[in-house]
């Protein structure tokens, strides 16, 4: 297991190096001068130009420039944003938790709804219930997320007036940012209106989470169902039944534990799609997350921001990928042997 972890860690290092090379080369690929894209400064007085060149080692070769870039990344100097002229790292830090919060709740909902539905669909594969669930899953899998979001806004927010359409919390509430996770911050805040703020934040959260959860839920249903059906054919299930265990016992002790293994892995593989969908959802619901910030950055041609966003978002996806892979190996002794 330790050997396995070391190999994974080595791989992780390799992927990060490749990622940083990609982010570095974007400074040259994007329009504009490389020093502009590195620093985020639009204009530099001619007198200070020498200093900029020395700072980004532009007179040296690419390798030296790349090493300088790595040094700046690790020391936290990520350059300025073209649009706001603020340090990028400082600008991104409060945005990232908002995206993680949204994605995490959506994933959670997809577990809670998707896995039981998938199991229910696998019990009688040709039954009416199973067909209905499968039909629902195909529909949810096919619906374009932005259109689905617009439909729900039209019906639930504008038509019925039940839920707010935009933002994380009503403008009346002022919540200090401590962790960046809205619900946690409200619980940490010492305010007489805590209850009301929590209720308000949950109402804001409901619609975006519901929209974002649609795709992972359907993926969960499909995967749990397929994997359940496959496990159900195995001979150890027959053995367990022959031993005299009843259906529920077989399902819990032998069926689920084996069937949910590939599902864990699937979370990691689907995470990058989830982030793509989260970006679109954030734009529609004006959710102040990193996805909306990135899409705003492309409208403003804010190249340093795109570069930094690539690093942060990809690191997030890679980390989640790696974690699910390690979890999968931890639970599945068969995968450890390779």
């Amino acid at each position: 297991m330790i050997l396995y972890l070391l190999r994974r860690l080595f791989l992780l290092g390799f992927v990060f190096i490749a990622l940083s090379i990609l982010a570095f080369s974007l400074a040259y690929l994007f329009p504009g001068e490389a020093w502009q894209n590195f620093s985020g400064l639009r204009d530099v007085p001619a007198a200070e130009m020498q200093e900029v060149i020395a700072r980004y080692r532009l007179e040296h070769g690419y390798l030296s420039q790349y090493l300088a870039y790595l040094g700046r990344i690790f020391s936290g100097d990520w350059g300025l944003s073209f649009a706001s002229q603020q340090p990028l790292l400082k600008e991104m830090l409060p945005l990232l938790p908002a995206t993680i919060e949204l994605a995490a709740y959506a994933l959670f909902i997809s577990f809670v709804i998707g896995i039981p539905l998938g199991i229910a669909a696998a019990i009688k594969p040709d039954g009416l219930l199973s067909k209905a669930i499968s039909a629902l899953a195909v529909a949810g899998y096919s619906i374009p997320v932005f259109w689905w979001a617009l439909l729900l806004i039209m019906v639930l927010s504008l038509g019925l007036g039940w839920l707010p359409t935009a933002g994380r919390i009503g403008v009346l509430y002022e919540i200090n940012q401590v962790t960046g996770f809205m619900l946690l911050d409200i619980l940490l805040a010492d305010s007489p209106h805590q209850q009301a703020a929590l209720y308000n934040a949950l109402r804001h959260l409901l619609l975006p989470t519901l929209v974002l959860a649609t795709f992972p839920t359907t993926v969960m249903i499909r995967f749990t169902r397929d994997s359940m059906l496959e496990v159900w054919e195995q001979s150890y299930i027959k053995t367990a039944r022959a031993k005299g265990l009843n259906r529920a016992q077989v399902l819990y002790r032998h069926g689920l534990r084996n069937a949910l293994l590939p599902v864990i892995r699937q979370i990691g593989l689907q995470f990058s799609t989830l982030i793509t969908l989260a970006m679109i959802t954030e734009v529609i619901f004006s959710w102040p997350g990193i996805g909306r910030w990135l899409i705003d950055s492309i409208y403003q041609r804010n190249y340093p921001a795109i570069q930094a966003g690539l690093l942060v978002v990809s690191t997030l996806v890679i980390t989640v990928n790696m974690l699910t892979e390690i979890l999968h190996t931890l639970f599945n002794p068969l995968a450890r042997k390779r």
């Binding site: 490749a18 994007f30 374009p144 617009l150 990058s272 795109i306 978002v313």
Partner: protein, 298 residues
């Protein structure tokens, strides 16, 4: 001429393709999906010939005409017109070319490139294939929208540039899938037997590998097609893909979003069509998957 039954089981004598079709045709949902898919495909090819009005032709006497089923509508404009007096029905027909047709082209391009790279990776061994694998792992982790944003930042917005972005985003999964499928085939005993008969790499590839993996290829292509349609529409909606006057479905939705109260048809109908297009692809894909599984079991 009398027919002899040489084989005891008639089923086994059929070609794999006709066995697959038999299993496929038994599923109603899959056949419905196929009909819908064919309709979209035909529409993407024939759209300019059957539009009643020019999709970009602006009639300033008829701005924001409601659909023909409402009392104020005209039968010549079945779905009404938009705020520039363009016929929505014609625009939507032509939109099938952009959203659906370009998605098909994108997938075919990605499939061909993936076949080339996946074959090279699957047939090579050692350090070369391991390095290649890790690069693929990296490419798989960059979200497709982020990749599209980067490519738009480098090349500028436009339908053609986002086509490249989507092709690049689809490529890793093709290469990965094809590489694994080929590696699985190469470890089979019949490949070794064929090699012992003196077959070279090309013969093994064309006579054994390709006939054995085409089913998987088709499945991969249908999955990629549904992603491609959704991505093209999403990029059009965000204004990064197809640009304003173009009749791409996502762009039409973005265009009519500010008039959603007055003319909800402009948002509802293109969205419904995107949904139906993706649904048809997914139904065909699911049907194929089930049929392929059943055929192998028999």
């Amino acid at each position: 001429m009398p027919r002899f039954r040489l084989l005891p089981d008639e089923q086994l004598a059929r070609s794999p393709l006709s066995q697959l079709w038999r299993e496929f045709a038994r599923q109603h949902s899959a056949v419905a999906g196929l009909i819908l898919f064919t309709a979209f495909f035909a529409l993407a090819i024939l759209a300019p010939l059957i539009t009643p009005h020019g999709p970009y032709w602006q009639n300033d006497a008829l701005l924001l005409l409601p659909p023909s089923w409402s009392e104020l509508g005209l039968v010549q404009y079945p779905l009404g017109t938009d705020d520039l007096g363009r016929d929505l029905f014609s625009r939507i027909l032509v939109g099938a070319r952009y959203t659906f047709g370009i998605a098909v082209i994108t997938v075919i391009g990605a499939l061909l490139m993936g076949l080339l790279l996946g074959t090279l990776a699957g047939m090579s061994r050692g350090v070369k294939s391991s390095v290649f694998n890790h690069i693929l792992d990296l490419a798989l982790t960059i979200p497709s929208l982020l990749l599209a944003i980067i490519i738009v930042a480098i090349l500028g917005p436009g339908l053609l540039n986002t086509t490249w972005a989507i092709m690049l985003a689809l490529l890793p999964q093709f290469v990965h899938g094809i590489r694994n499928a080929i590696a699985e085939q190469l470890s089979q005993d019949y490949v070794i037997a064929y090699r012992l008969d003196g077959a070279n790499n090309w013969q093994i590839f064309s006579r054994i590998v390709i006939p054995n993996i085409w089913e998987k290829l088709t499945l991969m292509a249908t999955m990629a097609l549904s992603t491609a349609i959704l991505d093209i529409a999403a990029l059009g909606f965000l204004g990064l893909g197809a640009q304003a006057p173009s009749a791409e479905w996502g762009a039409i939705i973005a265009d009519s979003l500010d008039l959603i109260y007055i003319a909800p048809a402009g948002v509802a109908i293109p969205g419904l069509l995107i949904f139906l297009a993706v649904l048809s692809v997914n139904l065909v894909g699911d049907g194929l998957r089930t049929a392929a599984k059943k055929r192998r079991e028999n």
